[in-house]
Symmetry: C2
Subunit: 366 residues, 2 copies
DNA sequence: CTGTTAGCGCATTCAG
DNA sequence: CTGAATGCGCTAACAG
């Protein structure tokens, strides 16, 4: 019914082993034979049986990309960048990886589930993107599972989240990096956030509201830490009331920003700036401010994070911190394919640059 | 090294067939045996070898979801809805499908490539979402490949695109539906667009600009057709200059709307309304109008399409046509799993409802 | 209800 | 450079 290697072999007048060799291209085959085989493949419309070859070779061409939210452009950009590196070899060719995105919805359970599903498929690699859930039980479970996968030959790349915690159970010196083949590309969230807050402080702002991302997420924590550190360094007096000026948004979405800004306004009607966990949240903040009759940046300055495409388009254009999402995703893809040598220590930090635009300005004179 | 079915069988003191049966749960097994096996599975941390089982069973648990643009929320919503239906059976269980999204970037070639990759994996199902590229060579190639897949046991669902063209080569009567097991959920783009334009005409608008989506896409064409039909029915005089008032946007993105609106204003400074191919484009239109000093809806009314979450949040809230994206995606998922019986004729049309909001109003009196 | 027996389609030794 | 033979890990008859 379905055409197999043997069919192609018969048609080309060679053995199936030879067909396999030309298809995988990792073995010398005479030119004449090769073309004959290729022609047969074409005429028969032969398509490799993935499972069979995965079984025999003990490795598949599946590459999983785990994202927290497919509907969020942040992940869309990273995912498509990862995929962009998987093109190779043309359609017929082997080596064609099937890059595939798995939507965890930010749920630790689904993250784990996908990981076993991918393990079951003997995935060639898996790339985990975006912030990690910081809950001890989950993170050790996750680390365990990832190390299992890595041990089974699956390449693991973390993109946009912190490195795995050191192996559980061992009481070694903490500075020893994982050393387990898991490569990490982590964003400089603390640094970027620090620079953004410093920018506001330099403009003269002292009462700066902050709407965080969801709790228990590494990114949420790091960005807040960077903010607080800048405050501590440049305006210790502002740090004192930082807690009161911080609202915990429940998600990285617009309504978190909208509601958060209203709450901030309630707590401190005299604030002169609001920083948000990311650009989407920032847009919600802007909407709330406008609904309250406040002008941006004349009355209140606003800052975001990520620099998604719409940030520059917003009105006013949003001051934010740029994360080179596409670049990082592409690099993660190459790392996943083993096309690029891992950074020393298997951890690299990706820069986060301040982008000053129209949504921030000096506070209005009182 | 890696633990296999046989290892589990040995440990549980049964045959490997029995282990297979409890794992797949589709065969009677004594309760005592079952628990013994399950315990062994657990102790050994056994994970099924997907490729091996796919090879033996001639079908895998992979479900592919093809989307035109992962970074676009339209697809994110549909994709996550499809995935939401794949939960089943708990983590250990078999039957767990690996739903996986493939980003074609709107490229016909990548679409075809993914299809062969999925065929190679013997995917259980594939769901193609969003508008189809309307180019004869490609659509027949696509239809061919899909029918191959279907013949090979892969379930095919089209969601948000028109049904496949009738089988090439046969000169049968056109009304005969495909009858090849490909199920289609098509959106009522023409009808929705018709209702939106009718709404504007009823308000009194006569000079209505239109910014289309990318050329060669089914969705682009259908929406434009609905618009023109409404014009023809209710305002034949307006239809006459419809061509001049139509700008072809190059993509479903914001800048297409921005540039398109500027071009429209150049051609017809006196237009009173602008319709866009979708909400994202509409937002670009709004930005351009505002930059030109025009108020919405006092000076110009604006309408979108899709009703993505941000449409209701925009200011002013966008009048648009609501597509039940989540509902349609979930249904596509169930259809892909064979959990729901296909509609008669294997084609169902999904409704598109007009959502009147603040961005449309009667034209200003002259 | 459970064990035995064959392959599934391909990648690899190992010989030629 | 090429062919023949073996087995990857599992499922599906087929017996018991």
């Amino acid at each position: 019914m379905t055409v197999t290697l043997a069919d192609v072999a018969a048609r080309a007048g060679v053995s199936s082993a030879t067909v396999s060799r030309v298809l995988n291209g990792n073995y010398p085959v005479a030119d004449g034979t090769r073309t004959r085989v290729l022609r047969a493949v074409d005429e028969l419309q032969y398509v490799v049986n993935g499972p069979a070859s995965a079984l025999a070779a003990a490795t598949s061409d599946l590459v999983g990309i785990l994202v927290n939210d497919v509907a969020d452009p942040f992940f869309g950009i990273v995912a498509s960048a990862v995929q962009s590196e998987m093109g190779g070899e043309g359609v017929t060719g082997a080596g064609q990886k099937l890059a595939v995105v798995c939507n965890t919805g930010g749920s630790p359970e689904r993250e784990l589930t996908y990981l076993t599903l991918l393990r079951r498929q003997r995935a060639a690699a898996v790339v985990l993107t975006g912030s990690a859930v910081e809950e001890t039980a989950h993170s050790t479970a996750l680390a365990d599972r990832l190390r299992h996968l890595a041990a089974g030959g699956t390449r693991i790349v973390l993109c946009g989240r912190p490195p795995l915690p050191p192996r559980s159970g061992t009481t070694e010196q903490p500075p020893a990096p994982a050393e387990d083949g898991v490569v990490t590309l982590t964003f400089d969230n603390r640094g970027g956030s620090h620079r953004l807050t410093a920018h506001l402080l330099t403009l003269g702002h002292r009462r700066i509201g902050y709407v965080t991302g969801p709790a228990d997420r590494s990114t949420t924590r790091h960005r807040l830490e960077g903010h607080r550190r800048a405050l501590g360094e440049q305006a210790p007096e502002a740090l004192a009331e930082a807690e009161r000026l911080t609202v915990h948004g429940g998600a990285y979405d617009r309504s978190a920003g909208y509601d958060g800004a209203l709450e901030l306004l309630r707590r401190a009607p005299d604030l002169t700036a609001v920083l948000a966990a990311n650009d989407t949240v920032a847009l919600g903040v802007c909407a709330a401010l406008r609904d309250r009759g406040l002008r941006i940046p004349e009355d209140v300055s606003v800052g975001g994070f990520d620099d998604l495409p719409f940030a520059a388009d917003a009105s006013p254009a949003l001051t934010t911190v740029r994360l080179p999402l596409h670049e990082a995703g592409a690099r993660a893809g190459r790392l996943a394919l083993g096309l690029e040598t891992p950074p020393p220590g298997d951890v690299a930090t990706v820069r986060a640059d301040l982008m000053v635009r129209a949504s921030t300005a000096p506070p209005a004179p009182r």
